[in-house]
Symmetry: C2
Subunit: 278 residues, 2 copies
């Protein structure tokens, strides 16, 4: 899959392709910088320095540091939705082969797949996730209106897909009736809270259940009427079979190649960047 | 109640009292600065300027900007635990007069009181809460080990009191058996997530249920085996009777007076500060 930029229009096809390639290169370096030292480490000056180019050259593609950060967040959010989709598809394939699973169980498994994948991604790549979610705990005054809207826009696809999975489980009467979008927001909020809190609590010296995220998902779904034993069984199977694993990286989205057909994509992308160094 | 500083020792009683008074004055101004423009707005230079004193004078009481922030966070965390205690005590008094409530219902009401008060405080004073919880979404690398430990230390009292309330409800068989501390962490995480997410989602243009926090608490407790109808009834009563209201301010803790006997404490404290201006 090739990542599509939000502001690519108004150019001929070939110019757009070249622009897009250059923007992907810039974003890849920006991702490195931000993962190395947080967003504070990401300045256009450092970005240009790492690429051995002038700041003006970067400006030709992104009008400001904020534009780079904004696109980086959109990139990561796109990635998160893709890994949730991957997990849901993998679980659906597995479930279709299980004779003992009825359509209702499969509907619950889809919700578990999406949310467990989010938790696994968060644990493996806290720095990337933090770039998207850092605004969540920023006081209103500090957060420009534009950014608040942006954060919501970029998580919107993920929320919509989770909403659909929840609605499907409700249709199958595996969950009590309620607004599925409200439930999707609640599940996201609880997941995000557990990811953030777990990190701090673990470092604070106490050792709470390391499965906080998983237990949070199960508890909410039981609270919505799901059968506890069914959920525990489904979760255990998804974890044991590694069905919610994360098989792609955010960097895959910056590659020209389809990551599912090119396992060397990450090395290719890195080499592409490093060729520019003298 | 007079706030006790963590680093007050090693002085005679009168010196300690004077130091403590001066430290409270500094913290009051620091609280103003931070609530006006976030922690970035809080520098020792601005702090001294606002107090019409030298930076050296501030250094006599706090060795660094970080020490001021750290004490400010401890102050707010102390405040949060007090408002949760207030709400729990208020609900207990009310519940003791209700003939139709059994001890088990009262135990559930205590959990609701503490958590609803937290949600109400968060909604009314997001800037204050943000000073304590901002570290939650800070990537590990950005968060010095000392700060991670500090965050956990300052929320520890609140978590312990919530743990006791949950354990009590479990003893009364209103919740299924489980580690009550793990559940307290889960509830805190879910609350914090809903507070953060609600703010962003609301500004993002969608209007999810504004009672997200309340529904989150109820859903988790139902997930732990509580009766839904009982919870809804208790929550509605606590909200309708305003039993989880917040009656004190963080600034009260910086006053010499007991806020429960002196309703003018805030004005007194402010005037005390302003007298210093020429």
């Amino acid at each position: 899959m090739i990542y599509i930029f939000s502001q690519s229009g108004e150019h001929s096809a070939i110019v757009t392709l070249n622009r897009s390639r250059k923007m992907r290169e810039i974003l890849g370096v920006a991702l490195d910088l931000a993962c190395d030292g947080g967003l504070d480490n990401l300045t256009l000056h450092r970005l240009a320095g790492r690429m051995k180019r002038s700041v003006a050259a970067v400006y030709r593609y992104f009008p400001s540091r904020e534009a780079v950060i904004s696109e980086l967040q959109r990139l990561i959010a796109t990635h998160i939705n893709l890994i949730a989709n991957d997990a849901q598809a993998r679980v659906a394939t597995w479930a279709s082969k299980q004779d003992d699973l009825n359509p209702g169980d499969r509907a619950l498994a889809a919700i578990l797949a999406r949310t467990l994948a989010y938790g696994i991604y968060a644990e493996a790549t806290p720095d990337e996730l933090g770039m998207v979610t850092r605004y969540l705990s920023t006081p209103d005054k500090m957060l420009p209106e534009r950014d608040a809207t942006h954060v919501f826009e970029i998580v919107s696809d993920s929320l919509d897909d989770l909403t659909a999975a929840i609605a499907h489980a409700q249709t199958h009467k595996m969950l009590t009736p309620a607004d599925p979008h409200d439930r999707a927001v609640m599940l996201w909020a609880a997941l995000q809270g557990s990811i953030d809190v777990l990190r701090v609590v673990q470092r604070g010296g106490r050792s709470p259940h390391t499965n906080l995220t998983r237990h949070m998902i199960e508890t909410l779904m039981v609270g919505w009427g799901a059968d506890h034993a069914t959920l525990t069984h489904l979760t255990k199977t998804i974890i044991d079979h590694d069905l919610a694993r994360v098989e792609r990286t955010t960097r895959d989205l910056l590659s020209d190649e389809d990551p599912l057909t090119d396992t060397d994509h990450e090395n290719t992308a890195r080499t592409g960047t490093e060729e520019k160094t003298p």
